[in-house]
Subunit: 205 residues, 3 copies
Amino acid sequence: MAFRFRPVDASFYDLFAESAQHLVVGAGLLAEMLADGTDREAVAQRMREAEHAADETTHAIVRRVNSTFVTPFDREDIYNLASGLDDVMDMMDEAVDLILLYEVGQLPAELSNQVEVLQRCAELTSAAMPRLQAMKDLDEYWIEINRLENTGDKSFRQILASLFSGTYEAIEVLKLKDIVESLEGAIDAFEKVANIVEQIAVKES
Amino acid sequence: MAFRFRPVDASFYDLFAESAQHLVVGAGLLAEMLADGTDREAVAQRMREAEHAADETTHAIVRRVNSTFVTPFDREDIYNLASGLDDVMDMMDEAVDLILLYEVGQLPAELSNQVEVLQRCAELTSAAMPRLQAMKDLDEYWIEINRLENTGDKSFRQILASLFSGTYEAIEVLKLKDIVESLEGAIDAFEKVANIVEQIAVKES
Amino acid sequence: MAFRFRPVDASFYDLFAESAQHLVVGAGLLAEMLADGTDREAVAQRMREAEHAADETTHAIVRRVNSTFVTPFDREDIYNLASGLDDVMDMMDEAVDLILLYEVGQLPAELSNQVEVLQRCAELTSAAMPRLQAMKDLDEYWIEINRLENTGDKSFRQILASLFSGTYEAIEVLKLKDIVESLEGAIDAFEKVANIVEQIAVKES
């Protein structure tokens, strides 16, 4: 709603910060979705709203790229960064959606490891966006995201191994595998964003 | 076969129209594949032929991009549009192929909702391609495709929920999930084509 | 390790040859992984090392693109080729990883058909890279890769059909399907590399 009143001179940096801020909200909703006794339907509804808000920000960036003569860095890179951030949101939204849709009873506790990684990635990404303007102190951001992605990858593999260890029914494995894969996909999408930022920084330096 | 005799001066617009026309054929074959008592082997064979014909058109576009000095819009965009159209065909071909390969007995009736969406998308895309030349009246096309994609997404989610509702054996879920995912992938691929057209129209306007 | 001592004037061609050489090593390890009575843990460890070495080469290419004023062909194409080669390695690494992780007992014999295709693709790609310099005799390379990809596709479909033929438990199907899909993904990634090389050759000719 508030986005309707976005000032016409909001810079690309503001819009990227806004986009990353949606990811902080989304990762928080994902954590809520995993909590015991949560109203999943309600959380999923808020997630859908957050996803729509993120879409609006992405469209605002694309419109601005198309209507601005001088851009702070390559149009292509702006577009890549915007859609990279949007992809993270889509993956987190998918994870929430699958948890609701598949009516999974008890979620394995290990999933929270992946969601913690996602929350940390969202915070780091959100903190890094404003630093794009000065193109400074960005390397610690992408190094840390890469480290987190490695941690997430280890969790992902452990969860997969445990899913196939024989304690779960095939149909349950199918459901949970889809969910952990979409969480892993969201973490990978954060890494992709960090790679895009690195590319931009290297070019501009 | 007819493609051998393509006149050397067939324009990019003609080739895009030809490419989209293959999708109308493909979506029709998909509908036939779902019909009761159909000869699946025969339909799959015709689908393979349609897919090869679509490949030829895609190659013709790429060859033309590489050999033409002045193109109606960015080379990159022509290439994206051509491969976007080709991706739709590949996904529809995959769906047909999986239905044959997995020897699924009775297909759930809900699949026809997805295929109807695909047929409508193919017709709209085919009707929109000739309008690229004047870059006019394209917005109704991409708006309608986006609306259809939303409808398709709802069908997809309903089918997934029903697959996991407990009425299907795990092995049957595995098969059907692959099939409905490839149908959903084809619908998404149509939306991607519409997004590419939107991008081109915005740039050129 | 040796990569630390890479001479500063190693050309792009040398780096691409090095990158493809990692794929020959990777495909060989994949073949070892399938052998009866192999120490899977040890092979997977060597695969991880090969994958890291491949990453280093990819980074070396990207660094060089970013620091070189004149490149032998489009920066974009160099980047695409480098990441295309890297993608093959990632897919082969994933296949090895899943075999270890899922603790699959006996692997179906048909998997070796896919791995043979991968070994052949790796050799052909490795032999083709040095020919990039003269841009000569590359068409036999990409034609053969396309032919191999077709063969691989037929194997893939046969394996899928046999997985779903009723002899395997659902949970086993899930595991094996992931593995054969990652092998198929690696073959597709080789085809993508060949397509990129074809694009480059067409442009430069």
